[in-house]
Every structure is written in C-alpha cells, then in structure tokens.
Amino acid sequence: MNRVFLASDNIVSPLGLSTADNYIAVKEGKTGIALHHKTELWGDPFYASLLASLPAFENHAGYTRFERMCILSIQNALSGTSVRLDDKDTVFILSTTKGNISLLTDKPVSPQTRSRIALHSTAKTVAAYFNAVNMPLVISNACISGVLAVLLAKRLLKAGKYKHAVVTGADELSYFIMSGFRSLHAVSNEPCKPFDKKRDGITLGEGAATMILTTDESLAACPQKIAIGDGVSTNDANHISGPSRTGAELGFAVAETLKQNHLQPAQISFISAHGTATVYNDEMESKAFESAQLADVPLHSLKGHFGHTLGAAGVIESLITIYSLRDALVLPNMNYDEYGVSGKVNISRSVTKTGKHYALKTASGFGGCNASIVYSSIN
C-alpha cells in the first residue's frame, strides 16, 4: 500500500489567494465574514464571507465565476509542484454541492445551460483548461463532499490507481443557496458562533481550495511533510435535514478513523470540527466527540473565519488544519464566549503550542452523512 503526501495546495477565499495568506489571517483572528448589501443575493443586508472580484488569468473569458474560482485555485496550487494534470498518472477530483447553479434564471433551462450546470461537464470544463488527460471525478455529497473527496483521492492513490491527485473543493454563494438556507431558518443574523451558547445558525461563505496529493515522497511539500491518513464515513439513518440526536454515528466514524490509523485519543493534537453553529449540529458533534473519548482534545470550528463554504469547506478547513499542524499550533474557536453544548468537549480558546503530530478533521451534512480523516506531520 502506498503512502500519500501533500505536494502543494491553495485556498481562494476572502482572506487571501494562497493557503499561506489564509492561514496567517486565521492565526491573526481575521474573518472573511462581513455585512453585505447585495440585493442579487438577498433583499436585506446579510453577513457572509464573499469573494471580491476574482483576479484575471490567461484566457479567462468564457468561464463562469464558479469555474474561474476553481481554475484560479488549481493554477495557484499547480505552480508549487511539478505535478501536472496533463499526465496519465494524475486524476482530478471536484467536490461541490451546487457548482454552476447560479446559471439558473427565471427563463426555461436551455439544453446548453443544463449541460453547463451538470457537474460532470463543469468538471470537464475545468479539467480541460489544464489539458487533463484522465476523466475527472465529481463528488457531490452535501457538506462532507470536501472530506470525502480527499478520502477518495487517498484511496485511489493508496491502491495505486494514480500517482497524483488534484482535489478541488468549491462552491459559490448564489441566491439559490442563500434563499434555501434562509427558507430553513438556518442562517444567523449575526456572524456565526460555533459551539457557543448563543449560536443560532450558520453564516454562508464561498471559496475554492485545492490539495495536490502524491505517492511520490520526493514531491511532498517542505519544510514539514504531511501524510494523508485514512478516514471513515457513516450515515445517521435518522433524518434528511437534521443531525442524529445522539451523535453515535459521527462518534463511530471518528473512533473507527482512530482505529484505522492506529491512534489513541491522546495522540491527537486537535480536532477541526464541522461546527456550523446551528443548535442541533454542534450539539450532535459534542456528543460524538465525547463518545469517541475525545472530550479532552482541543477542538475548534473554522466557520467563524470562512463561513460555511459547503463543498469547499472540507478542503479549506483541511488545509488550515495541516498548516497549523506544521506550525505546531492549535488555533482557537472564533466568536466563542460561553459553553453551549451538552456533550463534553474542550473548546480551544487561544493559540496554543502543541507537540503532537496528528490532527482530526470531521464533517457532517444533509442526508445524515458524516466523515472524518486524520492528517499527520512528519519530522
């Protein structure tokens, strides 16, 4: 079985156009969330983490905003490695929930629009920009898409199907997404407060992030190599739009993830939780981590910095996790004042040093899905 390493990466978010810029901003406690008044997204002013105008790139005309977000992120990530997409040993994996959905208008959907919205053709459009030779793979699995995409890449590479994988997670904040989460009364009127007693919903965000993975250790990014561990996904079998009441299923995924990676809870430096800041999600996660014997491990959600970026979240948050692991730091949970969950968890309140080399990333989403994965820094 092959080991899998991080070769290069990128985050495109309101906090910056590189992972390093995003990581520094997060470490300094900055957020991409701001009050916006954009009537094309929502009638009243709203808090969200929105990208400003995207920088131009060569031949960018003709691409949708979503496609440009993906291309920018991939281009930046590719610039840091010799891995290329026009190589038969490289696979491209796209993680997104809604892709080009902003192309829907009040007019009937033409066959051209339908084809542009179809996620497999969106992925092909993006892949073709880089002359990719292999057929792209698309994961659209709600809010766990990003973690599942990394897990898919890890499994493909571990099994020797490809030598390299370019994993991109992206979602654009559209009226479709905004109105939908509003209709569910899931959006907070303030910047989201994960795990806090006064949390009352999510803040939406947008962004794109790319992880380039490889089995070739000589291509692993320096200074500190990062190994992609194994991971597990489970389903709650409870409700399509509400989480498990007990957290047992996420707890099982996390416990199995530790087992697959031959790790004890005490070896985990910190947990990068999903932490959407809805009442029920954070409550469920707290019970899950307690049940998996992780009550003492420092935990944060990064949603206070990026908002909920849906299909991008798993990749963006994995990269911040990896950069802080390299930095031997545990980052705090933003917008947090008062303990507000019934499970026992250790909410991180400040930047602290850690001597441990493993971090756990989890995600949960609509359809009752959960996913978890481990990253490790190698000295």
Binding site: L137, S140, N141, L152, L184, A237, I240, F366, G367, C369
Partner: protein
C-alpha cells in the same frame, strides 16, 4: 481479492418496466412518472408515507431499492454500520433544483430545498433500511461500471462493509432510469461475481430484454 464478492440481486427501472433479477416485476408503458411511481409503490404492498414527500429522484431510487431488497432483510443479516451505499447519477438534483428555484422567486420552499442535493437519496435509503455504514454520491455523464465496482470493492475490503447497495439513478424533466444491485461478501450464491464486466452486462442486458 474480490473472489468472494457476489452480486446477489439487481433491479432496473427503465422504459415503463421494473425488472428484478431479470424477470418482470412491474410494467406500465407510457405512464406519467408520478402515476408510474405510485403504482409501483402500490404493487410493493408497503406502508411508508414518507415516500409521498420525496422528490422524483428519491422516489425512483427508493422504489428500485425497495424491489431489490423485497426478499432480503439487511437489518437481519448485518449490523447497521456493515452496509454501505455507492450512488451515482448524471444530473445531480437538477430537476428539483429548477422546481426549488422557481418556488424561490415567489416564496422559497424549504420542503423542496432539502431535496436539492443528490445524496439526500442515499439519506432516504439509510433511514428506510437502517443503514449506517459508508456511503458516497458521485456525478458522471454516463454509468461507469468500472469506477462503481472499484469503489464498492474498496468499501468492502477496507471499510468494514459486508454488503453494499450500488447503483445509478437519474431523473430530469420527466425522463428517468434506475439500476441498483446488492453486493455481498461471503454470499452462498456466487453465480454472479462482482466485477465491472458483470455489472455492465446486467446494466445493458436487462435493458434489452
């Protein structure tokens, strides 16, 4: 590896017919989808009111797997976390996306919005059949038996899964199809080995019938 994994059942809904293990389970040519789906539901003789709340993609997935499992109880044979699901389709949830979007211009419908993710069909299957193992939802332009077989094998060999519901279903603008099969490890019936050739054969064979 792979020799002890068998396809223990399969189902296909296409062209007004429901084929189960290569025999006709139900037929209703030229019917509107809603009529066709309701009549398959009746033919199954089940009582599951949630069915009527589902969007069309979830309905066709639900019905296909209901037929697939009509003679098998996964709950009796396996622990909840020992069954997984691999699901793929071409148009994601676009049919419902358009319906939701149209509703949103007047009053956004939360009941429609929750169905604007293709993996919600997996969620419905998990609730119905008590499945808590690993599941994943992929989007391809056409059914990819090679990938589908590899991913199910990976779950069965490395993820603690002993049975896997694998398949493809699409619903867009009144056109639909579904093809699902059950893969089991240690099955007594090894007549159909789990590999992409057999999956492709079943996917096409049933259709020509």
């Amino acid at each position: 590896m792979g020799t002890d994994k068998a396809i223990s059942g399969y189902v296909q809904i296409k062209g007004g017919r429901v084929m189960y293990n290569n025999s006709l389970f139900f037929e209703m040519p030229d019917a509107e989808p809603v009529v066709f789906f309701n009549d398959i539901y009746k033919a199954l003789n089940i009582n599951y009111p949630k069915f009527f709340k589902m969007d069309n993609l979830c309905k066709v997935v639900f019905l296909a797997v209901e037929v697939l499992l009509k003679d098998v109880s996964l709950r009796d044979k396996y622990k909840p976390e020992e069954t997984g699901i691999v699901f793929s389709n071409a148009n994601s949830s676009l049919d419902t996306d358009i319906r939701y979007f149209q509703s949103s211009l007047e009053a956004p419908s939360p009941a429609l919005f929750v169905y604007t993710l293709p993996n919600v069909a997996i969620g419905e299957l998990c609730i119905r059949h008590g499945i808590k193992g690993e599941t994943a939802c992929f989007v391809f332009d056409i059914f990819d038996a090679l990938f589908q077989a590899w991913y199910a094998d990976t779950l069965l060999e490395t993820c603690g899964i002993k049975a896997c519901i694998s398949g493809w279903a699409d619903f867009y603008d009144g056109k639909f199809e579904a093809f699902f099969y059950l893969v089991e490890t240690g099955s007594d019936n090894l007549s159909i080995k789990h590999n992409s050739e057999n999956i492709d054969k079943l996917y096409n064979q049933v259709w020509k019938n």
